[in-house]
Amino acid sequence: MKSAVIVFPGSNCDRDMQVALREVTGKEPQMVWHGDSQMPNVDLIAIPGGFSYGDYLRCGAMAANSPIMKEIVKQANEGVAVLGVCNGFQVLTECGLLPGALMRNASLRFVCKDVHLTVENNTTAFTSNYQQNEPILVSVAHGDGNFFAEPETLNKIEGDGQVAFRYCNADGELVARANPNGSVNAIAGIFNEQRNVLGMMPHPERHSDKAIGGTDGGRLFESLMGALS
């Protein structure tokens, strides 16, 4: 599996994504600077977390309008797998590849902690190494992760099985306390209709090493490796 990690000014999880992809795929991902107009031919495009353009104006808004994103949208529409994590998820909603929006956390505070997610759909390239409804442990670190969609859009996301992950407790139960940011229906990550684009607030790349927190996140990359190699 060949992969690329997009680097915007202010990206700060690009190295973490690079390391996780390298460990799982055994190949060095290509680091693509936002100013490059050429996208290399890859099987997976990863948009990492961080504070692209300082999160000024709105999180992800300016990155969504950068030249490289035009090329990424085009490739996504042709079926290339795209993963957006945290700020990357915000970029994907801002550029229209994913529905909805990510608003300020309900607590109004940045939140960094380990959370559990239920796997809502394990039939995709991103999630095939998980059990359906399995609770997995990863971490969140964001100030604007409160997923919102208009009722009509939300119904469609829910009805089509576009929800990838929801926040839950260690037993996999959807309890209010487990939702770290107030996201509607406890949504932590969603797919596009074709299931080749995934945006998620939690960081699978920070849980890809057993010395550091665990390996539940790494299984997402292993799923991709299985599907895209």
Binding site: P9, G10, N12, C13, R15, D16, V19, A20, G35, G49, G50, F51, Y53, G54, D55, Y56, R109, F110, V111, C112, K113, S139, A141, G143, H203, E205, R206, S208, D209, A211, I212, G213
Partner: protein, 734 residues
């Protein structure tokens, strides 16, 4: 030379914080009266903040050397060898006064400043820590200050993508008018890629990079060296605003240019910005410097040379480049969308010459000004060890009730509300974050890890500064040991009141003596640091607060130890001896409102021997969990160990043995182990007292005679206080 020079009156001299004698000396050095720009330069270079004039005499007594030390105090940060061609670069610095005036920006720019001190030297920053002190929780400003400071630290650190992994937060009414915000940063570099600030190469270009210059924080450095009064809240406009996004770009751009060989010297523009950075670079290099201020990138129009030299706009650096390398450097900074300007040249005149629009607007001799930088031997009173007092609670004290209220008190309650606002896991190398003894961060791409901690117990320092100073180092040492790291070196942040008062100067002298002795005995040289004086409001000083930031190395991070035990049936062993010392303890403070008497004795030999033993036990994998004993005594340590995984303990200590439970005797650790026999044997050989005090068991803490309290009850109390305090409805208080 007329345009910018109003007549220098006694008033203007006083406004610049110079004494009459200092001004006289300035005139002698100049051989004439300085103009306003030059006076401004004297004022910042001779301010307490830049010159350490009150503390220098005593700072010189600290141990700063050792085979592990690559660079001690005097550079932007200290550098210590961690083997395999790697070095750790670190420093702690205060941003106390700005944070009181504008908590969000004050704390944020504090984090930004300390980051720059570290990456200026060639290191990639890998961890932030912070030591915070606030006033009484009931004081009307405390909540506002705390929430602003925490948001500022998070706002900056989270955005630059450096994890905030540890620190400490305490409350005491002595900080009502002067909070303390001490930020520490730790970075890692290659030993052959360390960058220094001494200018060199006559004719080389002096280059300005980063953000544009505005009128931020003009006179911040002199403000940070003046006592507060009611009027200082009106000084708000001088507080700088941080831009962590630009800082992130600056980090990446600097590390990119540093991977080549075009830099001769580099220095961040911290307090007193362009003035002190250019002055210090030339002074250290024994050169002169000429700057053309017309070329300085400015954010606002009509800025005067005075404003440009003294501005404290953030996210800026000054570099000296090798000849002909300007274009290469410019391309890198432009890629990162940062300003780049050649603003001057290195000269052989030994003078700082400032030009603006073709005119010479300032001309000062560098060495005489630096050498004549005042150094005071301020009068001080020796602070004697107070008389012992007897701490005698009445017979009705129920130890476990006290424990529960202690765990939920502002002194000991969980700081989760704070540290969950900090991104602690970005960079994916954080092995242990806040909530344990030391934070542990892996050295990227290796099996090594660095342990780090900040420590100080101000009530001990107030009772007897020398003991308190030594205790701060000893506690840092223990926290590093308990995580499985070998203590390597330390940085210090000395926070005190007005040094012109002999009793405050006595606190400084006492604490420094204690720190020096402990650093010597525990082989933790001080390699960097910062002094913050005049932390007084209306004549009332803070508690003496010499914060120690300790760094330790774990060669094999797989051997790392945590505070929480994960199974039942382990023996709990205490290493170190207990006399039941309750004077100056949290127990005495909280239960008896007694803050008198002597702090616990620091026996440095014992401290070193016990630490060495514990480390060898951890390295030999004989320890399942380890925690040092500090605030609140043994029972608090065991509670924290038990709460980590919800597995309780049965202790063979009676509820009436308050000294055993709550005494704060030093040089002690609690170990959970399934091999207590070997540990007792090893302790005997090392001549360290060792006692089995109980077993891990169940989901409660139980004492002999059956007194018991469930962990869920303790955890609930422990976790409840801070969210309840911070999220209570806003009322007219603010």
């Amino acid at each position: 030379m007329t345009t910018y020079h109003p007549e220098i009156t006694a008033e203007i001299v006083a406004e610049h914080g110079l004494s009459v004698e200092e001004y006289k000396l300035a005139c002698e050095i100049m051989d004439r009266a300085p103009n306003l720009l030059e006076l401004g330069i004297f004022s910042v270079m001779w301010s307490e903040h830049c010159s350490y004039k009150s503390s220098k005499k005593w700072l010189k007594t600290l141990p700063t050397e050792g085979p592990q030390v690559i660079q001690g105090p005097g550079e932007n940060a200290g550098v210590v060898d961690i083997g395999d061609g790697d070095a750790v670069i670190f420093k702690i610095e205060s941003h106390n006064h700005p944070s009181f005036i504008e908590p969000y920006q004050g704390a944020a720019t504090g984090v930004g400043g300390i980051l720059r001190d570290v990456f200026t030297m060639g290191a990639r920053p890998i961890a932030n820590l912070n030591a915070l002190r606030f006033g009484d929780p009931d004081h009307p400003k405390t909540r506002h200050l705390l929430s602003g400071v925490v948001a500022g630290i998070g706002g900056y650190g989270n955005c630059v993508g450096v994890p905030t992994v540890g620190g400490e937060t305490n409350f005491d009414p002595a900080y009502n008018g002067n909070i303390l915000v001490n930020a520490m940063n730790v970075g890692v570099a290659k030993t052959d890629k360390i960058f220094y600030s001494a200018a060199g190469g006559i004719g080389n270009s002096v280059v300005y990079v980063g953000s544009k210059t505005g009128r931020d924080g003009i006179h911040g450095a002199t403000m940070a060296s003046a006592e507060f009064d009611d009027a200082s809240e009106a000084k708000r406009p001088t507080v700088q605003v941080g831009d962590p996004f630009t800082e992130k770009l600056l980090i990446e751009a600097c590390l990119e240019i540093m991977s080549g060989d075009s830099i001769v010297a580099i220095q961040d523009m911290g307090a007193a910005g362009l003035c002190s950075s250019s002055f210090e670079m030339a002074s250290k290099g024994g050169t002169g410097v000429e700057l053309d201020l017309s070329t300085v990138p400015c954010r606002e129009t009509g800025m005067t040379p005075y404003e440009m030299m003294l501005s404290e706009s953030q996210e800026r650096m000054l570099m000296v480049l090798k000849p002909g390398r300007e274009a290469e450097a410019q391309a890198i900074f432009e890629k990162w969308e940062l300003d780049f300007a050649v603003v001057g040249t290195i000269t052989d005149t030994g003078r700082m010459v400032l030009k603006f629009e073709g005119e010479t607007v300032g001309d000062l001799p560098i060495d005489p000004l630096a050498l004549a930088s005042p150094e005071y031997d301020r009068p001080w009173h020796e602070i004697e060890m107070p008389a012992a007092v007897s701490i005698e609670p009445d017979g009705n004290v129920k130890a476990l009730d006290v424990l529960k209220s202690m765990m939920g008190s502002p002194d000991l309650a969980s700081r989760r509300w704070i540290w969950e606002q900090y991104d602690s896991t970005v960079m994916a190398d954080t092995m242990q974050k806040s909530g344990g003894d030391a934070a542990v961060v892996r050295v990227h791409g290796t099996d090594k890890a660095l342990a780090m901690t900040t420590d100080c117990t101000p009530r001990y320092c107030y009772a007897h500064p020398e003991t308190g100073g030594a205790q701060a180092v000893a506690e840092a040492y223990r926290n590093l040991i308990a995580s499985g790291a070998k203590p390597l070196a330390a940085t210090n942040n000395l926070n005190f009141g007005n040094p012109e008062k002999p009793e405050i100067m006595g606190q400084i002298v006492g604490c420094v003596k204690g720190i020096g002795a402990a650093c010597e005995a525990l082989d933790m040289p001080i390699v960097s640091g910062n002094v913050s004086l005049y932390n007084e409001t209306d004549g009332k000083a803070i508690l003496p607060t010499p914060v120690i930031g300790g760094i330790g190395l774990m060669k094999d991070s797989a051997a790392m130890c945590r505070i929480g035990h994960k199974e039942e049936g382990l023996d709990l062993v205490v290493l170190g001896s207990c006399t039941g010392h309750l004077q100056q303890s949290l127990f005495a403070k909280q239960v008896l409102s007694n803050q008198e008497g002597q702090p616990p004795t620091i026996d440095l030999e014992k401290e070193e021997a016990t630490g060495r033993l514990v480390l060898s036990l951890i390295e030999n994998e004989m320890v399942e969990a380890c925690h040092d004993i500090s605030d609140g005594g043994l029972i608090v340590s065991v509670t924290e160990m038990a709460m980590a995984h919800g597995i309780g303990a049965e202790l063979n200590i009676a509820e009436s043995e308050l000294g055993q439970l709550f005494g704060e005797d030093q040089a002690r650790y609690v170990l959970a182990t399934n091999d207590s026999e070997s540990i007792l044997l090893a302790a005997e050989i090392a001549e360290v007292e060792a006692t089995i005090i109980g077993k891990t068991k169940g989901d409660a803490l139980t004492l002999t005679s059956g007194a018991s309290i469930s962990l869920s009850e303790l955890s609930a109390a422990h976790e409840a206080w801070m969210p309840g305090f911070m999220e209570a409805p806003v009322s007219r208080e603010a």
